[in-house]
């Protein structure tokens, strides 16, 4: 007489919702592992770079008053490099440190810290945004990269500036590196910084020198700077994507 359904309507509904949810999750996970799909997704980054650069032009990052400086400038990523060459330099207070500037330049440079501190400098209080989402504000002093590039006399055909670092992030034998194009390289706030909050740059924040590229996220502003190379392409350097994190799936633009 009674025709009890195999499943109640509520059970069916629950099953459908749970099934659809699980299906979505499995689908997204499997798509996330397909290189071709990820390449399609990165169209978003290309659009970000084109549109955001078009909208912003040469505009400057906001500079803050002294009262806005964060009590502690949070250090992230490498905070205490253990590579032999870095430890040796650190042991004698970076006195034999030389920043090399080479590649597509007419006048390659090797500069000690005293020479760099004697160069025309710029001071700026800016906000540092980590790709993880947090922000801190710090006061930087350093030499505009434009001045160093002009001194080294960049050759025609140059397109990118590559920064090589001392730290071995990920402890895999590779070295941290990053790259920007000439637009960002010649931006007035792009500098080789030697001091933070009126003190010589400390080890957690990139001693003796780090880059400040104020319109980029933190990972695009390398610490523990060893060498600057002007190139026409970064395709042959390490993973070929233009930076340590880029080789690990992050976008080269790094502006949002």
């Amino acid at each position: 007489m009674s025709n009890d359904p195999l499943f109640t309507r509520r059970q069916v509904l629950r099953g459908v919702i749970a099934g659809a949810g699980a299906g979505l999750l499995v689908g997204c996970d499997s798509l996330s592992q397909k290189e071709r799909f990820i390449n399609v997704l990165s169209i978003g980054e290309t659009l970000n770079q084109r549109v955001q650069r078009f909208l912003t032009g040469d505009s400057l990052a906001k500079e803050y008053s002294e009262s806005m400086i964060s009590p502690v400038f949070r250090a992230n990523g490498s905070t205490n490099p253990q590579t032999d060459e870095y430890l040796a330099m650190k042991a004698n207070g970076f006195s034999d440190y030389r920043l090399k500037i080479g590649g597509l330049v007419d006048n390659p440079l090797e500069l000690g810290l005293d020479a760099i501190r004697a160069m025309p400098s710029r001071t700026q209080i800016t906000r540092h945004d980590c790709v993880e989402g947090w922000s801190v504000i710090g006061k930087w002093a350093g030499v505009p990269l434009a001045h160093l590039l002009d001194t080294a006399r960049v050759k025609p055909g140059a397109r990118y500036v590559v920064f090589y670092c001392f730290d071995d992030y990920g402890d895999n034998g590779g070295r941290y590196y990053e790259s920007i194009d000439l637009l960002d390289a010649y931006h007035p706030q792009t500098m080789v910084a030697h001091s933070l909050n009126n003190e010589p740059l400390g080890v957690p924040n990139g001693a003796p020198l780090r880059m400040r590229i104020e319109r980029k996220l933190g990972y695009k502003q390398p610490k523990y700077l060893r060498m600057i190379e002007v190139v026409d392409s970064y395709a042959a350097i390490q993973g070929g994507k233009g930076g340590y994190w880029e080789d690990n799936g992050y976008d080269w633009y790094g502006g949002i």
Binding site: L25, L41, G44, S59, K62, M68, W134, S135
Partner: protein, 305 residues
């Protein structure tokens, strides 16, 4: 009118008749589903991005000791971790969902939002960002098309805009919702005033806010968005507002789906897939109605038995 609300399935002389009308035109239906897809992708990947630093602040920079909201893992004396969600000065144990949840092999791990809520399910900020920015573009372009289409076809003006009679009908509409009273006739083919306000709020308040606060997390865009950033209280405040808008979008979607079930899930789903919607008219009034004759794809009369 109220007599039509009394219905009995065995009543052979039902005091109403059914018509199928074209409730939503195809561009709107298409844009609706693209919107849903993009939003799901953005919420999942957005929670992945949030998980990279599962705390929100209210200022220009992060005051790490005083977040306004955080979902962290804490360690007990016996070494076990548990999830703690903090809102202002309030702390709640949310182990299993927020702060600490089980990974694919069943072990508790430190995680802002659980793996079932993030894209991808494992911790992968780089991939989450790719998803987020791609679907942000899909969502924004789809939204721009929707606004353009709505202006062009007068959908916005005719169907969504609050008219004087809508404002006056708000108290009655609240009563209808509370008493589970379904509209009949032409009213069933229109948005009710509460529905209009919800849609207008999503389109003209939540959407601009979530787009602008999203953009103002970009150090590049902030070089031209300084005034806006000052207005909302700084970059970290913008990040917090972005998150809150997401929560409001989720709340809207939950209520939206509940309303679909309340109004009749099969009929409502069909109206957003094929466009056809069956509407009950008090007997003798169908056909006279402007809305029904204007957009009718097929008209039928039966007693629904």
């Amino acid at each position: 009118m109220s007599s039509v609300l009394i219905e009995s399935p065995s009543d052979t002389a039902a005091p109403y008749q059914w018509r199928t009308i074209l409730r939503h035109r195809w561009p709107l239906r298409l844009m609706h589903w693209i919107n849903l897809l993009a939003m799901l992708a953005m919420i999942g990947s957005g929670l992945q991005i949030y998980n990279a630093h599962p705390a929100l602040y209210w200022a220009e920079a992060s005051h790490f000791d005083t977040p306004i909201f955080s979902t962290d893992a804490m360690q007990r004396d016996n070494g076990e971790i548990h999830g703690v969600t903090q809102i202002g000065s309030m702390n709640m144990d949310t182990t299993g969902v927020l702060g600490a949840s089980r990974n694919s092999v069943g072990a508790l791990e430190s995680r802002g939002f659980p793996s079932w809520a993030t894209i991808p399910s494992w911790r992968d900020l780089a991939t989450g960002r790719r998803w987020h920015f791609f679907f942000a573009w899909v969502w924004v372009l789809n939204g721009a098309l929707y606004i353009g289409w709505s202006l062009l076809t007068k959908h916005l003006n005719r169907d969504l805009a609050m008219k004087r009679r809508d404002w006056r009908a708000i108290p009655r509409s609240i009563g209808d919702h509370l008493k589970f009273r379904h509209p009949v006739g032409d009213a069933a083919a229109r948005y009710n005033p509460l529905q209009k306000l919800a849609y207008l709020g999503v389109i003209f308040v939540l959407t601009p806010l979530i787009v602008l606060t999203g953009l103002s997390m970009s150090p590049q865009m902030d070089t031209v968005l300084g005034g806006w950033l000052d207005f909302v209280g700084g970059r970290q405040a913008a990040r917090s507002i972005h998150f809150m808008m997401m929560a409001l979008f989720v709340a809207f979607a939950v209520i939206h789906v509940l309303m679909v079930f309340y109004a009749g899930p099969i009929n409502e789903m069909r109206s957003m897939i094929t466009g056809g919607m069956r509407i009950r008219y008090p007997r003798g009034t169908a056909g006279q109605s402007a809305a029904a004759s204007e957009s009718s794809v097929s008209s039928e009369e039966n007693n629904h038995e």
